[in-house]
């Protein structure tokens, strides 16, 4: 079981309020991802849930019980750190056994659980090595192994993949998603990589300066961002924002259009412009186009689109995919 509810929690360091009053319900078995720019309080929020920091005010409930004052070990949560935080002087086996030993399990029980975890995480061959003798991905798996053997109510991940190289990151992403499907345990995952967020999450929490900007499924955030910040944060490359006449014609202070929602053409279209940079990836082509009507725009074409710096192109936005925002930056429906 892993239902976590945060009720008006705040956190103040010295006289800086890092988390203003914040409410959040995390359902049992959910994979929830916190995203936001650096320094927005993602780690702090996670550490508040873990109990590694005390909340300044407010209430944390885990499975309906008040856990605000409960010490970290008693909350039944397990955390995977960005730095792995493995114990360097212990073998992999001892690392994974540590929480069980602290909880007072007997030897046979511990061995059985370690073997199970090692099998799930493909660590069986490494059990007698020290962390220093493992690769980054293996270390990460040991850290996850140490977390699963405790059978926690929820897993907390703080940017667990940011120390890995790109290929490995994709692999581990899949492994963690698979693990979630297998264990069906609540997982709270902090990242600032929005691809991770979009691909793994059941729901995403977008944070800015400790404030929740929007909570929703990845596709909700993509198709119905609540404000400019979420619209700009979710999606890659970033949504184009256009002010001036184009926006006024649609009764908005600003309109946004995603690069993938514009038709590209060499002959005709609504906005004419010159290509300033073109990025050819084979599978997609990204064009940075300087237009007269709408300023600098990024556009994406499927497959190869044969243009170069200085060529003329025409862009046609799909009208139903245009997002409108008012002067405060809130989305207009």
């Amino acid at each position: 079981m892993g239902h976590i509810s945060l009720n008006q929690i705040t956190k103040t360091f010295g006289n800086v309020q890092v988390i203003p009053p914040l409410d959040l319900e995390i359902e049992d078995g959910e994979f929830i991802v916190f995203v936001g720019p650096s320094g927005c309080g993602k780690s702090t929020l996670l550490r508040l849930i873990a109990g590694l920091e005390d909340v300044t005010s407010g209430e944390i409930k885990i499975d309906g019980r008040d856990a605000t004052e409960t010490p970290p070990a008693k909350r039944g949560l397990a955390m995977v750190f960005q730095s792995y935080a493995l114990y360097p002087h212990m073998s992999v086996r001892k690392n994974i056994a540590f929480p069980l030993k602290m909880a007072g399990f007997d030897k046979a029980e511990i061995d059985r659980k370690i073997d199970d975890a090692a099998r799930v995480l493909n660590l069986t061959d490494y059990l007698d090595r020290r962390p220093g003798q493992l690769s980054g991905g293996q270390r990460q798996r040991v850290a996850i192994g140490r977390a699963i053997v405790r059978e926690p109510a929820a897993f907390l991940f703080d940017e667990p993949l940011s120390n890995l190289d790109a290929a490995l990151r994709v692999n581990m992403r899949l492994e963690i998603s698979e693990l979630h499907n297998k264990l069906e345990t609540t997982m709270i995952y902090v990242t600032h990589d929005q691809v991770e967020a979009m691909t793994m999450a059941d729901r995403i929490v977008v944070l800015r300066a400790g404030i929740i900007e929007q909570v929703g499924t990845p596709l909700e955030l993509y198709s119905k961002p609540r404000n400019l910040f979420v619209a700009g944060f979710i999606g890659s490359p970033k949504m184009n924002f256009i002010e001036g006449a184009v926006a006024e014609r649609r009764d908005a202070a600003k309109v946004g259009i995603r690069p993938e929602h514009m038709q590209l053409s060499l002959e005709e279209g609504r906005w004419e412009g010159t290509v300033s940079v073109s990025e050819h990836l084979g599978s997609d082509t990204f064009l940075h186009v300087e237009t007269e009507r709408a300023g600098m725009l990024t556009a994406r074409a499927d497959g190869e689109f044969p243009v170069r710096h200085g060529d003329r192109v025409f862009l046609t936005p799909q009208d139903d995919k245009i997002h409108r925002f008012d002067a405060e930056g809130m989305a207009l429906s």
């Binding site: 955390m79 750190f81 493995l86 002087h89 212990m90």
Partner: protein
């Protein structure tokens, strides 16, 4: 240093330092070795005959030698135990965020800057003096008999004095080691359900093992040759109660003017120090190469 050329260049460049060091060590060592086989007493001028191992026989069969050996080991061991335990505790204390941390740290380091002779004199005259020392006054204020530290428990007193001087060194090394401990590890252990004591024994202490090894090795080297503290407090007495090997060599060659005997003692001390070093390396050296 990958190529043969750069390796030989490197050898060439370090050779002056190596030669200097060799000269520095080898000349006194071989002179001492040479003297130790001679009848060479400043009170008996004349020929310095070669007398084989006579000096060694006298030194090793001297009843003072055995007690000096025991005293040396007790002194080294006692100071090591006190400084390592005290150092770990102090390091943990100083690592806690507290008010006036900077000043407290400087105060803790301060004894290291006091010369051994000075610190021993201060301890002897201001603290341990049975008539007007601070401790005597405290004892009297509490209505007890003043305790004559250097008379009743001379070796323990010297261990205390030497420990006081070396505690800052141990604390400093252990504190820096403690500060290099990854905070995440402690937090992970906390989440894993380890209480403060478990965290200390399972996370901090293993992390400190290497630093403790360094402290033990370095201190042992210096503690085998403690001299000033003994000279200014007890002069090796009462009897031979506080005579260590270093002091015995001194007494032999400079108080009895027996250069040959003193040299033999010096060589014995060198051999003993090496035996201790080998044992130490065996016991704890494995900590260094993880």
């Amino acid at each position: 240093m990958a190529t043969a050329h750069s390796r030989s260049a490197a050898r060439l460049m370090i050779s002056p330092a190596v030669l200097l060091l060799l000269g520095w060590m080898l000349i006194p060592l071989s002179m001492t070795l040479y003297f130790s086989f001679l009848r060479y007493n400043l009170l008996m001028p004349g020929a310095h005959d070669f007398i084989g191992f006579m000096n060694y026989r006298f030194f090793l069969t001297d009843p003072a030698f055995f007690s000096a050996l025991i005293n040396t080991l007790l002194l080294v061991g006692g100071v090591l135990v006190i400084t390592v335990f005290g150092g770990v505790l102090l390091a943990i204390l100083l690592d806690q965020p507290m008010w006036g941390q900077g000043i407290v740290r400087v105060l803790v380091i301060a004894p290291f800057f006091v010369m051994p002779t000075v610190s021993a004199l201060v301890w002897k005259n201001m603290f341990m003096n049975p008539v007007n020392g601070l401790f005597a006054n405290i004892f009297r204020a509490l209505g007890m008999q003043p305790f004559d530290f250097l008379g009743q428990a001379p070796l323990a007193s010297i261990i205390l004095i030497v420990s006081w001087g070396w505690l800052p060194f141990a604390t400093l090394i252990l504190l820096t080691a403690l500060q290099s401990l990854d905070r995440d590890q402690l937090e992970a252990a906390e989440m894993d359900g380890a209480g403060p004591l478990s965290r200390f024994f399972h996370i901090m202490l293993p992390h400190l093992a290497r630093a403790i090894t360094v402290v033990v090795l370095i201190q042992t080297i210096f503690l085998l040759s403690v001299f000033a503290e003994i000279l200014v407090t007890t002069n090796g007495g009462p009897g031979y109660a506080t005579t260590n090997i270093t002091y015995l060599v001194y007494a032999q060659s400079l108080l009895q003017f027996d250069v040959g005997g003193g040299s033999a003692g010096g060589i014995v001390a060198v051999i003993l120090a090496n035996i201790v070093a080998i044992f130490l390396m065996r016991m704890i050296g494995k900590n260094l190469d993880v």
